[in-house]
């Protein structure tokens, strides 16, 4: 039987990310930072070596299951920096791993015309891109492209041409993005719980009403299983496609239910709940893009 728990590396890096990012954001809500400057500089992540956490050196190196743990922790933050993407690219390309700074890629997605790629974090100044993860392919500076702005958390741009990926890289990217989405869902739920404990109607916290409790219980089930599905995807090669699809479906279901408990507030721009929806639906598109591009 498969061991479903992450290894030491995965757990340690995930914990470190949680600690450092909680400090860095100092409790600020996503809504306050997502449209401005990231609350942390890329250098902080680079100096900690987190962008190289996926590089494979020997059999004790980070497994895909470990990356699920790391991506989940990163997903909780929704900080608009290319950690997970860069980490995944650096795992699959020596040239990318050797490059200074973040590296991204270009993914074919359903919502862009054929031949045009979606470049996560393409709007980040100084980011590099790779045209192929095959050995010998260098990174180059990414210049321009049209900004894509549906998901500000991804600071994405479009680019002519898409990155050529190995089957393994495609699978891993899809799994990592699913895990990131599951982490996000868990975080939104945590915040919804806090919110419903505070928000009063009819003279008591709305979180004490059973209909609201059951929404959140369902959101818990969905978030919990979304993470399990990402773990499944990471450990069972043959089921990647269906497990990833299920993981995204459950993450979205969870966030939708959490948002319901905010009432009208959940529908406002400034509360920022929509950033999570935007992020997850966009990651789902990216995952489908890499999986379908076989």
């Amino acid at each position: 039987m498969v061991k479903t728990a992450a290894g030491e590396i995965g757990i340690a890096v995930a914990e470190a990310i949680r600690d450092a990012m909680t400090k860095a954001t100092a409790g600020a809500t996503i809504a306050t930072y997502i449209e401005g400057k990231p609350p942390v500089a890329w250098e902080v992540l680079g100096d900690a070596g987190w962008d190289l956490a996926g590089v494979i050196e020997d059999e004790d190196s980070t497994s895909l299951r470990d990356l699920v743990e790391i991506a989940g922790a990163w997903g909780e933050t929704l900080i608009q920096l290319p950690l997970v993407t860069s980490l995944a690219v650096k795992r699959h390309s020596v040239a990318a791993a050797e490059a200074e700074g973040p590296v991204t890629l270009s993914v074919p997605v359903r919502t862009l015309p054929n031949g045009t790629g979606f470049v996560p974090f393409g709007q980040v100044p100084g980011i590099s891109i790779i045209d192929s993860v095959a050995d010998g392919s260098p990174v180059r500076a990414f210049e321009g492209g049209n900004p894509l702005d549906f998901a500000p958390s991804l600071l994405a741009a479009s680019s002519p041409g898409t990155t050529s990926l190995s089957a393994e890289a495609r699978r891993e990217l899809a799994v990592i993005w699913a895990a990131e989405a599951a982490g996000r869902a868990a975080k939104v739920l945590q915040e919804a719980i806090e919110f419903t404990k505070q928000r009063q109607q009819f003279g008591k916290p709305v979180g004490s009403f059973q209909a609201v409790k059951h929404h959140l219980a369902n959101a818990h089930i969905a978030a919990e299983v979304a993470q399990t599905a990402a773990i499944w995807a990471s450990l069972d090669d043959a089921s990647t496609r269906q497990a990833v699809a299920q993981s995204f479906a459950q993450s979205l279901k969870s966030v939708q239910l959490s948002i319901q408990t905010y009432g009208g507030l959940g529908f406002t721009w400034e509360m920022g709940l929509h950033f999570s929806l935007r992020h997850i639906t966009t990651l789902r598109e990216l995952a489908a893009g890499v999986l379908n591009d076989a």
Binding site: K3, T4, G207, S208, H214, E224
Partner: protein, 375 residues
Amino acid sequence: MPTETETASRKGFAEAARQWLEENVPERWRTHRSVMTEEEGYEIRREWDRQLHRGGYAGLSLPKEFGGQGLDVAEEVIFADLAGRAQAPDGLARIGRILTAPTLVAHGTQYQLGRFLPKILNGDEVWCQGFSEPDAGSDLAGVRCRAVKVDGGYAVTGRKIWTSFASVADRCLLLAQTDPAAARHKNLTMFLLDMKQPGVSISGIRQSSGLTHFAEVQFDNVFVADEDRVAGEGDGWKVAMTVLANERGGVEAASRYVEIRADMDSLQRAIGHLPEYQRQLEDYDSRVELIRWQVMKSIDYDKDSAEFLKAASVLKLWWSELWQQIAELGLETADATNVEHWRLQYLETRAASIYSGSSEIQRNIISERILGLPR
């Protein structure tokens, strides 16, 4: 975390189990289970308990000294998975195996372990669970059935309802009130009651499916010895919580996976070629597999940790409601070759969101005890 030797031994275990199942699952059950009579079904299931024991697959995670195999819950899950794929029957001894046995391991005396476990595991004694009463279903603390102290034991009088397997049971895991004056949660005691005594009357209750799997049980001054009391007088609530944790936990979910996987496979065989159901089938199929993954994930955590509770809390709701959806689709798409099966499953699975604690109660538990929402 399992070590390498554990991983290797689990692989060996899985290979041997697969082979054993291939040779032992009754062909008739595989092909005719939806059309056989209740009696025939019972007979095959009873025999299956004995086969499991002979093959060394009964009580996989129970101590060796009492007839178990001394393995981990992981092996239970591996076996349930393989049994599901092999379309193995579900034994009649499920209450004894899944509820009584681990409860006795946690709270029982040496005498109780020695007296009851071996017979649970070899299929000789069938158990039932006497918790629910006409006026105490979801509110288990409201149990009224009385156990009054007499010389050497207790005299039990009262009514239980919805008691599954009562008509075939040798023993009952009985929750009774021992002190009506005591505070809520302190007035109950758990007993191991002999069902084949004078004073026990059982009247079968016909279910909506037409089957009679449960019954109303009346106890009239029925004796239960002191040595058959589990833990102390007044500890019944605590013991009942162990029982419920097992009833909603990993081994139960792994064993339900067996049945649900079999239904899912039938559904796929029947309508898998129809394009209009592709998406739905894939969704259901993934969710069925997630029962297994969720169980595996939860057993990787320490039993007392918050992560374990969080992971395990979703199991009962997850499998029970999914099973209902599968049966609904089965019924909706049934043809002449399988309509009997799906009509039965459709009606039978209505109960899945009620027994072992209703879905509403489960969601209350998640929201209050796992998520910490106010009462």
